[in-house]
């Protein structure tokens, strides 16, 4: 391994345009420790003659001790300087220039020194250090930046061709050992993440993502970036990931029990048909109230069901938000020394959520009962049709009490073979029932009652 620290004497730093370099270094003052470390390293490598060599040398030495191990990797950290770009083309230089430490030329030495750095690192392993050089962004000292994402915006500045991404044998994270706090992701990375379909997760973290990420959330960024690094594979592009992902999505689809083969090679047309029928059947099994069994109805039911699920999701989100707002408000109430007259100001964020009208509608059918629940704001309208003859009013009323719904209006009665009722109720404040829960509970109670009644009930 190329060791610079051992043979390097800070006192022999040549004078030169250290101002330019140090100024560019001073741009990155976001993390003082890292930057100062980098700065010191740079000054060391670029053969500067530092003003206070005395104090600096001491600090440099102490620093080099502390970061001795990553020093080798740190050698490769060189923020792309504007004035040194032209020299990249003549990049590969033999290691003879290593002796150029004590040269006293300014730019030449710097550049040749840079070249020697590059070349020496080139000598070790061809592509990765260069890759790392490419990766280092202009503006941040982020250590969590995955290499590939910055290639797209630093590349145009460099004139040499991008080496093909190969997997390296060394995990290269130059600043990793400095334990920098995770920087916020640069915008490009965020965009890349957002371009991946929301709500879907990388196969590795599927279960976690389901728990964490809902629609519209980017999900566990840290975990995802961690996943990149855990690979130990710096050269993996995000593009590859996306390709893998879409392939995996296909695999997930095909891995389903109904779909037979992992790769769609049909021996016969018949098998293709059977697979297709299997998929239709799977769709039918997902839908709660399947009506007819032919393909068009299955698809129609699926359409309605998807719409209903979307409505439910929106409703639940709204409810969760409302609950959260109420909680926050209560906490604020308690923490303030309040008298009843003083109400905390409602945030605009709260208002935006509370002012949106809650609306939801769904239908559920069981063998003897049909339930239609519509919710607008805090009013719930329930339509109930039952086939058999039991006293459903009582049970329904009980259920509504349990669900904290205030009966305002009931109308209905006996129609031929059916009981048909319409309930207008209001939700008591503070209760957070949603349409699905009401419908499910009603169906459940009704079915239980039907099960309890013997088949031959006396006619009234």
């Amino acid at each position: 391994m190329y060791e610079e620290t051992g043979c390097f004497d800070p006192n022999s730093m040549a004078e030169g345009g250290d101002d330019g370099i140090s100024q560019s270094v001073k741009h990155h003052k976001e993390d003082d420790a890292a930057v100062s470390a980098i700065e010191l390293e740079l000054q060391k490598h670029l053969a500067f003659n530092v003003e206070d060599t005395h104090t600096q040398s001491i600090s440099i030495n102490s620093n080099t001790h502390s970061i001795h191990d990553p020093a080798n990797q740190n050698h490769q950290i060189l923020p792309p300087y504007e004035h040194s770009h032209s020299n990249w083309d003549s990049g590969v230089v033999s290691a003879d220039h290593m002796g150029g430490f004590d040269q006293n030329e300014n730019d030449q030495s710097q550049q040749s020194f840079i070249n020697t750095d590059i070349s020496s690192s080139f000598a070790q392993s061809q592509t990765p250090p260069l890759l790392n050089l490419l990766q280092f962004p202009r503006c941040t000292t982020s250590s969590m930046l995955p290499p590939n994402s910055s290639i797209s915006f630093t590349n145009p500045d460099h004139h040499f061709p991008v080496p093909p991404p190969t997997s390296t044998d060394v995990l290269y994270d130059p600043l990793f050992h400095l334990n920098l706090p995770p920087q916020p992701q640069p915008p490009l990375f965020r965009e890349l993440f957002q371009s991946i379909p929301h709500g879907y997760s990388f196969p590795a973290s599927a279960s976690r993502a389901a728990a964490n990420s809902l629609f519209g959330e980017i999900g566990d960024e840290r975990d995802a970036t961690g996943a990149f690094y855990e690979d130990g594979d710096v050269g993996v592009h995000l593009d590859n990931r996306v390709l893998e992902f879409s392939r995996d999505l296909g695999c997930i689809g095909r891995r389903r029990e109904t779909a037979g083969k992992p790769t769609k090679h049909f021996a016969t047309e018949r098998q293709r048909r059977e697979q297709l029928n299997g998929k239709f059947k799977a769709l039918k099994d997902l839908v709660p109230n399947p009506t007819k069994n032919d393909r068009a109805s299955v698809v129609g039911d699926a359409i309605e069901y998807i719409k209903e699920l979307l409505r439910t999701v929106n409703e639940l989100k709204l409810l969760v938000e409302k609950k959260r707002c109420v909680r926050e408000r209560r906490k604020r109430h308690r923490t303030e020394d309040d008298d009843e007259g003083m109400k905390p100001l409602v945030d605009p964020a709260d208002q935006s959520y509370n002012s949106s009208l809650r609306s939801s509608w769904l239908q559920r059918k069981s063998k003897d009962t049909e339930v239609d629940v519509r919710i607008i704001d805090d009013e719930v309208t329930i339509k109930l049709v039952q086939r058999k003859k039991i006293d459903c009013l009582l049970f329904v009323s009980r259920v509504l009490d349990e669900l904290q719904l205030d009966l305002h209006h009931v109308a209905g009665g006996h129609i031929g073979d059916y009981y048909s009722f319409l309930f207008n109720t209001k939700i008591y404040e503070g209760s957070s029932v949603y349409a699905g829960s009401i419908a499910n509970k009603l169906i459940e109670v009704m079915d239980k009652q039907y099960a309890a009644v013997p088949p031959t009930s006396c006619a009234y």
Partner: protein, 199 residues
């Protein structure tokens, strides 16, 4: 069954078309070309609608549309489950609200304000049938208790209507006695008044 049927009809169709291709009879067409065409168009349109709903689609053929829809539905179901669990958890950890008491106080006051009186009316329309009309103050879960009381006394209510207005509840119903003896209206009226007072 239906799938077998559709598969068989499909195969039948191909057979029929096949027969046509084999040059059996140039004018031999599928028995109901227009109906079949309409059926296929219907399915095709619905598949297009399904595709428009699903945000993530891979390929554009029938099989993958259905597959993507399945994935999407499962995803949505999981989201619903997660959200509802979250809601339940929030609910269990939140505090009780003091609101219902206020409602009850308001109800009584409103009734008095509007001059609505509590009343019980019973009319005998037939041997066992009575029409009843009850106006009472609106209280939480009063209706449930009333219904339970009715059931426990052996009365069956058919054609019930309940209305609420300004803190008062109006219940009108047709009361049928389960036991086939004749029920006196007055007795029932007193019974009902007692019940209302007690709940």
């Amino acid at each position: 069954m239906e799938f077998v049927g559709s598969a068989s009809t499909q195969s039948c169709i191909t057979q029929k078309r096949g027969r046509r291709v084999y040059g059996d009879d140039r004018d031999f067409k599928s028995k109901n070309l227009t109906a079949e065409r309409r059926r296929r168009e219907k399915l095709s349109n619905r598949l297009l609608t399904l595709r428009s709903l699903v945000p993530i689609i891979t390929n554009m053929n029938k099989a993958t549309i259905v597959e993507d829809a399945i994935t999407y539905i499962e995803k949505l179901q999981m989201t619903v489950k997660v959200l509802s669990d979250q809601l339940l958890e929030m609910e269990s950890s939140s505090e009780e609200s003091e609101r219902p008491r206020n409602d009850e106080i308001n109800a009584a006051e409103e009734m008095k304000k509007h001059g609505i009186e509590e009343k019980v009316e019973v009319t005998n329309v037939d041997g066992c049938k009575l029409w009843i009309r009850i106006i009472s103050e609106k209280k939480r879960s009063r209706i449930t208790k009333f219904l339970e009381a009715m059931a426990s006394h052996g009365f069956e209510l058919s054609d019930t209507n309940v209305t609420t207005f300004k803190g008062a509840t109006l219940i009108s119903s047709c009361l049928n006695g389960v036991y086939s003896y004749k029920i006196e209206a007055e007795q029932v009226k007193e019974l009902l008044q007692e019940i209302i007072k007690s709940i």
